[in-house]
């Protein structure tokens, strides 16, 4: 019989702990109106402002785990020096791991806090950096 009453008491405690949550403030964040502010989020890749400092070394291409996301095309400059023509990153393939942004010698690739970059067309997801 004692076990029977212990069960009843534990049921009542269970009811009241659930009931006590009625008074607590709900924790839901109403997403589109109020957004959580992110200070240190590895979000969308973008290029540093100002003059393009990229030297087309290809380190970011060799370090990226998902192959084929970063494509670099170079062209001949007047002193037959290899110079960057165009650097394109396919954001639909990028897994936001941050390898390229860390190992870029001239810090042209940076990780912003933006994570809502969906688009209806795959072409918009390819960002380009021209010389």
């Amino acid at each position: 019989m004692v076990k029977f009453f212990r069960h009843i008491i534990s049921l009542i405690i269970g009811y009241f702990t659930i009931g006590s949550n009625l008074i607590k403030k709900p924790v839901t964040v109403f997403y589109p109106e109020k957004k959580k502010e992110h200070k240190n989020l590895r979000g969308k890749i973008s290029f540093a402002e100002g003059e393009c400092k990229c030297i087309a070394c290809g380190i970011c291409k060799s370090v990226c785990p998902s192959k084929g996301t970063i494509k670099i095309t170079t062209k001949e400059d007047e002193g037959s020096k290899k110079v960057l023509d165009e650097l394109s990153i396919d954001l639909s393939q990028c897994i936001q791991c941050g390898n390229c942004a860390e190992n870029c010698p001239t810090k042209t690739l940076i990780m912003t806090n933006d994570y809502e970059y969906s688009s209806t067309d795959k072409i918009d997801l390819i960002i380009r950096l021209r010389r």
Binding site: G14, N40, L41, R42, V63, I95, C97, N99
Partner: protein, 372 residues
């Protein structure tokens, strides 16, 4: 006539089913409510982790490693990196080791919380699901401030960790850990001696010690059946030898004890994390967090090294065959859920059909680890 008429009833808990954690197909012979035989079909989530490692360099493979077991990303990268670090015999700086242990123990709490949420949802109690996720959300916010990502961290590198933990993040972690026991008490009030929960989990899915060892179980599933095997105590890696914590174990081996073990293990991890925070607060000044090796030119020399770590679900082992270049010859992942799933057909013969849900839930099996 009755030879053709099989009086069993073949039920197919298909890949799309609410209570298989991930994608798993289970073909069952049911005789009324009793399970006659059970057969698992796995491989729906096979991403070819081991083939990927063979044509990626060590640095490229680092972000992929978090995805072997996406609920405990830190543990998989620690297993992979300890394999590389022992083969190149790096000596990690003290602060990097403390940060690694702190993040791993927080990850253990968040993975156990998610297990508790889905285990109770399988049994029908819907409301503790949201309390567990409220706690898990605060842990993931802490991870986002430290590493920049919520689940795919890519925070460990070859000589330590990528960035330091600032003082106010340490305060935030300490504040979370202080109010954590009151939350655990809240779950205990609702569940632990709730008669219906006791009915559903006592003496269900009992695994004897001999069976557990014969099937290669590790982690909480083994410790609930009576053995004290914990990698953090038997083969202490990183700085576990300096921390004092005890390993909960018991002898009954049924679903209820596994539930109790995981609750106590969460509280143990909280004790470890508090000690790490206290040490980190003492020497906040020294900022040597990694050996800043040029991680692009890390070469693994010949031969086999094994890195193993005590993950929330058991022991994750990473076998690494090097061949002198910076791409490994072969990487093999030994993951605990692969063996936990083998036990189920053995222990569920002749049991009720709804016991399968609670036994399967209590073993904490998730499919990315099984299929790799």
């Amino acid at each position: 006539m009755n030879k053709t008429l099989k009086n069993t009833f073949q039920l197919n808990i298909g890949p799309q089913h609410p209570s298989t954690h991930g994608v798993l197909r289970c073909i069952e012979e049911l005789d009324g409510e009793r399970i006659k035989s059970l057969d698992f079909v796995v491989g729906y989530l096979h991403r070819g982790m081991e083939k990927m490692a063979e044509n990626m360099t060590c640095l490229q493979y680092l972000p992929v490693v978090d995805r072997v077991d996406y609920l405990s990303g830190f543990f998989c990268s620690q297993a992979y990196l300890s394999a590389i670090e022992t083969s190149l015999n790096f000596e990690l700086p003290k602060k990097a080791q403390y940060i690694r242990v702190l993040t791993m123990e927080l990850n253990r709490i968040s993975s156990h919380l998610l297990w508790l949420a889905s285990f109770l949802m399988d049994l029908g109690a819907t409301s503790p699901y949201f309390y567990c996720f409220r706690e898990r959300e605060s842990i993931l916010d802490i991870f986002e401030n430290i590493t920049g990502a919520r689940m795919m961290y890519n925070y460990y590198t070859f000589g330590g960790v990528k960035s330091d933990i600032s003082a106010e993040i340490l305060d935030k972690i300490a504040e979370f850990l202080d109010e954590f026991p009151s939350h655990v008490k809240e779950y205990e009030n609702i569940i632990t001696n709730n008669p219906i929960f006791l009915d559903r989990t006592k003496e269900i899915g009992v695994i004897s010690l001999k069976q557990a060892q014969n099937f290669g179980l590790t982690g909480v599933n083994l410790r609930a059946s009576g053995s004290k095997a914990d990698l953090r105590k038997d083969k202490p890696y990183l700085i576990y030898s300096e921390l004092d914590f005890d390993v909960p174990f018991s002898i009954y081996g049924d679903a209820y004890t596994r539930y109790q073990m995981r609750i106590r293990e969460m509280l143990e991890s909280r004790k470890i994390a508090l000690q790490c925070i206290e040490w980190l607060r003492k020497n906040i000044s020294d900022d040597k967090v990694n050996l800043n090796i040029n991680s692009k030119t890390v070469k693994i020399d010949e031969g086999l090294t094994i890195g193993s770590v005590e993950a929330p679900r058991g022991e994750i082992m990473c076998w690494l065959w090097g061949n002198g270049t910076n791409t490994p010859e072969r990487v093999k992942w030994r993951t605990p859920s692969f063996y936990a799933l083998q036990v189920l057909p053995e222990i569920m013969k002749g049991k009720m059909y709804s016991d399968l849900m609670s036994a399967f839930g209590s073993l904490d099996v998730i499919m990315p680890e099984v299929d790799r």
